[in-house]
Protein backbone atom coordinates (compact mmCIF):
# COMPACT_ATOMS: atom_id res chain seq x y z
CA UNK A 1 0.00 0.00 0.00
CA UNK A 2 2.84 2.33 0.93
CA UNK A 3 4.65 1.32 -2.24
CA UNK A 4 1.57 2.11 -4.31
CA UNK A 5 1.23 5.49 -2.65
CA UNK A 6 4.86 6.27 -3.42
CA UNK A 7 4.44 5.26 -7.06
CA UNK A 8 1.35 7.49 -7.28
CA UNK A 9 3.26 10.33 -5.69
CA UNK A 10 6.09 9.83 -8.17
CA UNK A 11 3.73 9.91 -11.13
CA UNK A 12 1.92 12.97 -9.78
CA UNK A 13 5.22 14.76 -9.20
CA UNK A 14 6.46 13.90 -12.70
CA UNK A 15 3.17 15.15 -14.13
CA UNK A 16 3.46 18.32 -12.10
CA UNK A 17 6.98 18.88 -13.39
CA UNK A 18 5.90 18.21 -16.96
CA UNK A 19 3.05 20.68 -16.55
CA UNK A 20 5.30 23.32 -15.08
CA UNK A 21 7.84 22.81 -17.88
CA UNK A 22 5.15 22.96 -20.54
CA UNK A 23 3.86 26.29 -19.34
CA UNK A 24 7.11 27.87 -18.16
CA UNK A 25 7.52 29.86 -21.38
CA UNK A 26 3.98 31.17 -21.15
CA UNK A 27 0.99 30.79 -23.41
CA UNK A 28 0.14 31.78 -26.94
CA UNK A 29 -3.35 33.16 -26.91
CA UNK A 30 -5.29 33.71 -30.12
CA UNK A 31 -8.81 35.13 -30.37
CA UNK A 32 -10.28 35.87 -33.78
CA UNK A 33 -13.91 36.85 -34.23
CA UNK A 34 -15.36 37.89 -37.55
CA UNK A 35 -18.99 38.39 -38.49
CA UNK A 36 -18.66 38.55 -42.27
CA UNK A 37 -19.26 35.47 -44.44
CA UNK A 38 -21.06 33.58 -41.74
CA UNK A 39 -18.53 34.57 -39.12
CA UNK A 40 -15.47 32.88 -37.76
CA UNK A 41 -14.66 32.34 -34.15
CA UNK A 42 -11.23 31.03 -33.37
CA UNK A 43 -10.12 30.91 -29.77
CA UNK A 44 -7.20 28.88 -28.58
CA UNK A 45 -4.47 28.80 -26.01
CA UNK A 46 -1.25 26.93 -26.73
CA UNK A 47 1.76 26.55 -24.46
CA UNK A 48 4.64 28.48 -26.05
CA UNK A 49 6.92 25.50 -25.42
CA UNK A 50 5.09 23.74 -28.23
CA UNK A 51 6.42 26.18 -30.86
CA UNK A 52 10.10 25.14 -30.86
CA UNK A 53 9.01 21.49 -30.95
CA UNK A 54 6.57 22.17 -33.80
CA UNK A 55 9.28 24.02 -35.72
CA UNK A 56 11.58 21.02 -35.33
CA UNK A 57 8.97 18.75 -36.85
CA UNK A 58 7.68 21.17 -39.49
CA UNK A 59 8.52 20.18 -43.08
CA UNK A 60 11.83 21.82 -44.01
CA UNK A 61 10.64 22.96 -47.43
CA UNK A 62 7.68 24.78 -45.88
CA UNK A 63 9.98 26.54 -43.43
CA UNK A 64 12.35 27.48 -46.25
CA UNK A 65 9.42 28.81 -48.25
CA UNK A 66 8.25 30.96 -45.33
CA UNK A 67 11.81 32.10 -44.63
CA UNK A 68 12.33 33.18 -48.25
CA UNK A 69 9.12 35.17 -48.20
CA UNK A 70 10.12 37.25 -45.19
CA UNK A 71 13.87 37.13 -45.83
CA UNK A 72 14.44 40.91 -46.18
CA UNK A 73 12.74 41.45 -42.84
CA UNK A 74 14.43 38.62 -40.94
CA UNK A 75 17.43 40.52 -39.54
CA UNK A 76 15.13 43.28 -38.27
CA UNK A 77 12.64 40.74 -36.96
CA UNK A 78 15.35 38.86 -35.06
CA UNK A 79 16.69 42.05 -33.47
CA UNK A 80 13.17 43.27 -32.71
CA UNK A 81 12.15 40.03 -31.01
CA UNK A 82 15.37 39.98 -29.00
CA UNK A 83 15.01 43.64 -28.05
CA UNK A 84 11.37 43.23 -27.04
CA UNK A 85 12.55 40.94 -24.26
CA UNK A 86 14.21 44.01 -22.73
CA UNK A 87 10.87 45.81 -22.63
CA UNK A 88 8.48 43.43 -20.87
CA UNK A 89 5.93 46.19 -20.39
CA UNK A 90 5.39 48.99 -22.86
CA UNK A 91 2.90 50.52 -25.25
CA UNK A 92 4.40 50.72 -28.73
CA UNK A 93 1.68 51.59 -31.17
CA UNK A 94 -1.90 52.74 -30.79
CA UNK A 95 -4.05 53.79 -33.70
CA UNK A 96 -7.58 54.93 -33.09
CA UNK A 97 -9.70 55.53 -36.14
CA UNK A 98 -13.44 56.23 -36.29
CA UNK A 99 -14.40 52.72 -35.35
CA UNK A 100 -11.10 50.88 -35.45
CA UNK A 101 -8.65 50.50 -32.67
CA UNK A 102 -5.24 48.86 -33.03
CA UNK A 103 -2.86 48.39 -30.14
CA UNK A 104 0.59 46.81 -30.11
CA UNK A 105 2.15 46.50 -26.67
CA UNK A 106 4.04 44.20 -24.35
CA UNK A 107 2.80 42.95 -21.02
CA UNK A 108 4.72 40.61 -18.71
CA UNK A 109 7.10 39.55 -21.47
CA UNK A 110 4.40 38.88 -24.06
CA UNK A 111 3.66 40.79 -27.23
CA UNK A 112 0.00 41.75 -27.45
CA UNK A 113 -1.65 42.76 -30.69
CA UNK A 114 -5.26 43.87 -30.40
CA UNK A 115 -7.38 44.87 -33.36
CA UNK A 116 -10.94 45.94 -32.74
CA UNK A 117 -12.86 46.80 -35.88
CA UNK A 118 -16.50 46.56 -36.89
CA UNK A 119 -17.19 42.93 -37.54
CA UNK A 120 -13.65 41.85 -36.80
CA UNK A 121 -11.79 41.45 -33.54
CA UNK A 122 -8.33 39.96 -33.34
CA UNK A 123 -6.44 39.53 -30.10
CA UNK A 124 -3.06 37.87 -30.14
CA UNK A 125 -0.71 37.28 -27.25
CA UNK A 126 2.70 35.70 -27.88
CA UNK A 127 5.64 35.47 -25.46
CA UNK A 128 8.53 37.53 -26.89
CA UNK A 129 10.86 34.59 -26.31
CA UNK A 130 8.76 32.56 -28.74
CA UNK A 131 9.02 35.31 -31.37
CA UNK A 132 12.78 35.24 -30.99
CA UNK A 133 12.80 31.49 -31.44
CA UNK A 134 10.67 31.68 -34.59
CA UNK A 135 12.80 34.48 -36.05
CA UNK A 136 16.00 32.50 -35.46
CA UNK A 137 14.52 29.34 -36.90
CA UNK A 138 13.34 31.18 -40.04
CA UNK A 139 16.72 32.83 -40.42
CA UNK A 140 18.42 29.46 -40.14
CA UNK A 141 16.22 28.19 -42.96
CA UNK A 142 16.67 31.17 -45.28
CA UNK A 143 19.10 30.73 -48.12
CA UNK A 144 22.41 32.58 -47.70
CA UNK A 145 22.89 35.86 -49.59
Amino acid sequence: MVLLAKVALGITSALAMATVYTFHEGLIHVDVDTVEDGGTHVHFWVPATVVPVALEFAPRHKLREAAERVKPLLPALRILSKELENYPTGDFVEVQDHDQHVKIRTRNGSLLIDVDAPGENVHLRVPTKTLDHVARELEANASPE
Partner: protein
Protein backbone atom coordinates in the same frame (compact mmCIF):
# COMPACT_ATOMS: atom_id res chain seq x y z
CA UNK B 1 16.30 -3.76 -4.58
CA UNK B 2 13.52 -2.48 -6.79
CA UNK B 3 11.56 -1.48 -3.74
CA UNK B 4 14.46 0.42 -2.26
CA UNK B 5 14.93 2.31 -5.56
CA UNK B 6 11.24 3.14 -5.68
CA UNK B 7 11.41 4.33 -2.12
CA UNK B 8 14.21 6.72 -3.03
CA UNK B 9 12.79 7.91 -6.35
CA UNK B 10 9.64 9.85 -5.50
CA UNK B 11 11.10 12.04 -2.78
CA UNK B 12 13.51 14.10 -4.93
CA UNK B 13 11.02 14.29 -7.78
CA UNK B 14 8.31 15.35 -5.38
CA UNK B 15 10.47 18.03 -3.80
CA UNK B 16 11.67 19.23 -7.17
CA UNK B 17 8.14 19.40 -8.53
CA UNK B 18 6.83 21.09 -5.39
CA UNK B 19 9.67 23.59 -5.53
CA UNK B 20 8.97 24.27 -9.21
CA UNK B 21 5.25 24.60 -8.64
CA UNK B 22 5.58 27.07 -5.82
CA UNK B 23 8.52 28.97 -7.21
CA UNK B 24 7.41 32.32 -8.55
CA UNK B 25 7.56 32.64 -12.31
CA UNK B 26 10.47 35.07 -12.03
CA UNK B 27 12.85 32.47 -10.68
CA UNK B 28 12.83 30.28 -13.77
CA UNK B 29 16.11 30.33 -15.64
CA UNK B 30 14.44 31.95 -18.63
CA UNK B 31 12.82 34.60 -16.50
CA UNK B 32 15.88 34.95 -14.33
CA UNK B 33 17.58 35.87 -17.54
CA UNK B 34 14.89 38.39 -18.35
CA UNK B 35 14.99 39.79 -14.82
CA UNK B 36 18.73 40.23 -15.15
CA UNK B 37 17.96 41.89 -18.46
CA UNK B 38 15.59 44.22 -16.64
CA UNK B 39 18.52 45.22 -14.46
CA UNK B 40 20.53 45.83 -17.58
CA UNK B 41 17.62 47.83 -18.95
CA UNK B 42 17.61 50.06 -15.91
CA UNK B 43 21.29 50.70 -16.52
CA UNK B 44 20.58 51.54 -20.18
CA UNK B 45 19.66 54.96 -21.34
CA UNK B 46 15.96 54.00 -21.20
CA UNK B 47 14.91 56.89 -23.36
CA UNK B 48 11.69 56.59 -25.32
CA UNK B 49 10.79 58.57 -28.38
CA UNK B 50 7.09 59.38 -28.53
CA UNK B 51 5.07 60.47 -31.52
CA UNK B 52 1.48 61.53 -31.09
CA UNK B 53 -0.85 62.68 -33.83
CA UNK B 54 -4.34 63.89 -32.95
CA UNK B 55 -6.75 64.57 -35.72
CA UNK B 56 -9.17 67.26 -34.65
CA UNK B 57 -11.57 66.96 -37.57
CA UNK B 58 -12.25 63.24 -37.45
CA UNK B 59 -13.43 62.84 -33.92
CA UNK B 60 -11.28 60.59 -31.81
CA UNK B 61 -8.73 59.77 -34.50
CA UNK B 62 -5.27 59.46 -33.05
CA UNK B 63 -1.95 57.75 -33.58
CA UNK B 64 0.51 57.07 -30.80
CA UNK B 65 3.91 55.54 -31.39
CA UNK B 66 6.36 54.96 -28.57
CA UNK B 67 9.79 53.58 -29.41
CA UNK B 68 12.69 52.91 -27.07
CA UNK B 69 15.62 54.78 -28.64
CA UNK B 70 18.04 51.94 -27.84
CA UNK B 71 15.80 49.54 -29.72
CA UNK B 72 15.44 51.85 -32.72
CA UNK B 73 19.22 52.27 -32.85
CA UNK B 74 19.63 48.52 -33.14
CA UNK B 75 16.80 47.78 -35.54
CA UNK B 76 17.27 50.59 -38.07
CA UNK B 77 20.63 49.33 -39.42
CA UNK B 78 18.95 46.00 -40.16
CA UNK B 79 16.28 47.59 -42.34
CA UNK B 80 17.27 48.17 -45.95
CA UNK B 81 14.30 49.51 -47.79
CA UNK B 82 13.96 52.29 -50.32
CA UNK B 83 16.13 55.23 -49.28
CA UNK B 84 16.91 53.75 -45.87
CA UNK B 85 20.17 51.78 -45.94
CA UNK B 86 22.19 50.75 -42.89
CA UNK B 87 20.53 53.36 -40.69
CA UNK B 88 21.13 56.17 -43.17
CA UNK B 89 18.63 57.86 -45.43
CA UNK B 90 19.88 58.82 -48.87
CA UNK B 91 18.42 61.88 -50.52
CA UNK B 92 18.86 63.69 -53.76
CA UNK B 93 20.72 66.91 -53.00
CA UNK B 94 19.62 68.20 -56.40
CA UNK B 95 16.15 68.66 -54.95
CA UNK B 96 17.42 71.09 -52.33
CA UNK B 97 17.58 73.93 -54.86
CA UNK B 98 21.31 74.42 -54.37
CA UNK B 99 20.94 74.95 -50.65
CA UNK B 100 24.08 73.69 -48.95
CA UNK B 101 22.66 72.41 -45.69
CA UNK B 102 26.07 71.49 -44.30
CA UNK B 103 27.49 74.95 -44.80
CA UNK B 104 24.47 76.51 -43.14
CA UNK B 105 24.75 74.13 -40.20
CA UNK B 106 28.48 74.79 -39.93
CA UNK B 107 27.75 78.48 -39.80
CA UNK B 108 25.13 77.99 -37.08
CA UNK B 109 27.38 75.69 -35.09
CA UNK B 110 30.27 78.09 -35.04
CA UNK B 111 28.12 81.13 -34.32
CA UNK B 112 27.32 82.40 -30.86
CA UNK B 113 23.91 81.88 -29.28
CA UNK B 114 21.29 84.23 -30.55
CA UNK B 115 18.42 84.77 -32.92
CA UNK B 116 19.40 84.21 -36.53
CA UNK B 117 16.16 84.73 -38.32
CA UNK B 118 13.17 86.74 -37.20
CA UNK B 119 10.43 87.36 -39.71
CA UNK B 120 7.14 88.93 -38.78
CA UNK B 121 4.68 89.39 -41.57
CA UNK B 122 0.95 89.33 -42.08
CA UNK B 123 1.18 85.72 -43.23
CA UNK B 124 3.89 84.17 -41.11
CA UNK B 125 6.05 84.65 -38.09
CA UNK B 126 9.36 82.81 -38.29
CA UNK B 127 12.05 82.60 -35.68
CA UNK B 128 15.28 80.59 -35.88
CA UNK B 129 17.56 80.74 -32.85
CA UNK B 130 20.32 78.90 -31.06
CA UNK B 131 20.54 78.83 -27.31
CA UNK B 132 22.31 76.52 -24.85
CA UNK B 133 23.26 73.99 -27.52
CA UNK B 134 19.69 73.79 -28.82
CA UNK B 135 18.36 74.93 -32.16
CA UNK B 136 14.89 76.48 -32.07
CA UNK B 137 12.66 76.94 -35.08
CA UNK B 138 9.27 78.53 -34.51
CA UNK B 139 6.83 79.19 -37.30
CA UNK B 140 3.35 80.63 -36.95
CA UNK B 141 1.13 80.50 -40.00
CA UNK B 142 -1.46 83.25 -39.81
CA UNK B 143 -3.24 82.47 -43.06
CA UNK B 144 -5.55 79.72 -41.80
CA UNK B 145 -8.73 80.20 -39.76
CA UNK B 146 -6.73 79.26 -36.69
CA UNK B 147 -3.09 80.17 -36.46
CA UNK B 148 -1.04 77.03 -37.05
CA UNK B 149 2.10 76.78 -34.99
CA UNK B 150 5.22 74.73 -35.54
CA UNK B 151 7.82 74.56 -32.80
CA UNK B 152 10.99 72.57 -33.27
CA UNK B 153 13.62 72.28 -30.58
CA UNK B 154 16.57 70.03 -31.40
CA UNK B 155 19.93 69.64 -29.66
CA UNK B 156 22.73 70.83 -31.97
CA UNK B 157 24.57 67.57 -31.28
CA UNK B 158 21.68 65.67 -32.81
CA UNK B 159 21.79 67.81 -35.94
CA UNK B 160 25.57 67.36 -36.14
CA UNK B 161 25.14 63.60 -35.84
CA UNK B 162 22.36 63.61 -38.42
CA UNK B 163 24.62 65.21 -41.00
CA UNK B 164 27.76 63.34 -39.96
CA UNK B 165 27.31 60.80 -42.77
CA UNK B 166 28.58 61.27 -46.30
CA UNK B 167 27.17 63.64 -48.85
CA UNK B 168 23.54 63.16 -49.82
CA UNK B 169 22.65 61.15 -46.75
CA UNK B 170 21.57 61.65 -43.17
CA UNK B 171 22.60 59.28 -40.40
CA UNK B 172 19.43 58.54 -38.45
CA UNK B 173 21.09 56.05 -36.11
CA UNK B 174 23.82 58.52 -35.16
CA UNK B 175 21.14 61.16 -34.55
CA UNK B 176 19.18 58.79 -32.32
CA UNK B 177 22.34 57.95 -30.42
CA UNK B 178 23.07 61.63 -29.88
CA UNK B 179 19.47 62.21 -28.82
CA UNK B 180 19.66 59.37 -26.32
CA UNK B 181 22.96 60.70 -24.95
CA UNK B 182 21.43 64.15 -24.61
CA UNK B 183 19.13 62.77 -21.90
CA UNK B 184 16.43 64.63 -20.08
CA UNK B 185 12.83 65.06 -21.11
CA UNK B 186 12.81 67.00 -24.34
CA UNK B 187 9.94 68.29 -26.43
CA UNK B 188 11.34 68.03 -29.95
CA UNK B 189 8.52 68.93 -32.29
CA UNK B 190 5.13 70.43 -31.66
CA UNK B 191 2.74 71.20 -34.47
CA UNK B 192 -0.64 72.71 -33.76
CA UNK B 193 -2.43 72.78 -37.08
CA UNK B 194 -5.97 73.34 -38.26
CA UNK B 195 -6.57 69.64 -38.69
CA UNK B 196 -3.87 67.87 -36.73
CA UNK B 197 -1.80 68.27 -33.64
CA UNK B 198 1.56 66.53 -33.79
CA UNK B 199 3.91 66.07 -30.88
CA UNK B 200 7.31 64.38 -30.87
CA UNK B 201 9.11 64.19 -27.58
CA UNK B 202 11.56 62.11 -25.59
CA UNK B 203 11.35 60.94 -22.00
CA UNK B 204 11.85 57.87 -19.84
CA UNK B 205 8.22 56.73 -19.83
CA UNK B 206 7.21 53.61 -21.71
CA UNK B 207 3.73 54.96 -22.42
CA UNK B 208 2.59 58.22 -23.94
CA UNK B 209 0.44 60.53 -21.86
Amino acid sequence: MIRSKLTLLPAPIFFAATALLFTPYASFPQTADSSSTTQVVSARSDRWLHIRVDNKESKGELVRVNVPIDMAEKILPAINHDQLRHGKIHFDSGKLNDIDVRTILDAIRTSKDGEYVTVQSNENDVRVAKNGGMLFVNVTDKTGPKHSKVEVKIPMKVIDALFSAGKDEVDVVAALHALSAHGGDTELVSVKGDDNDVRIWMDAKNVSN
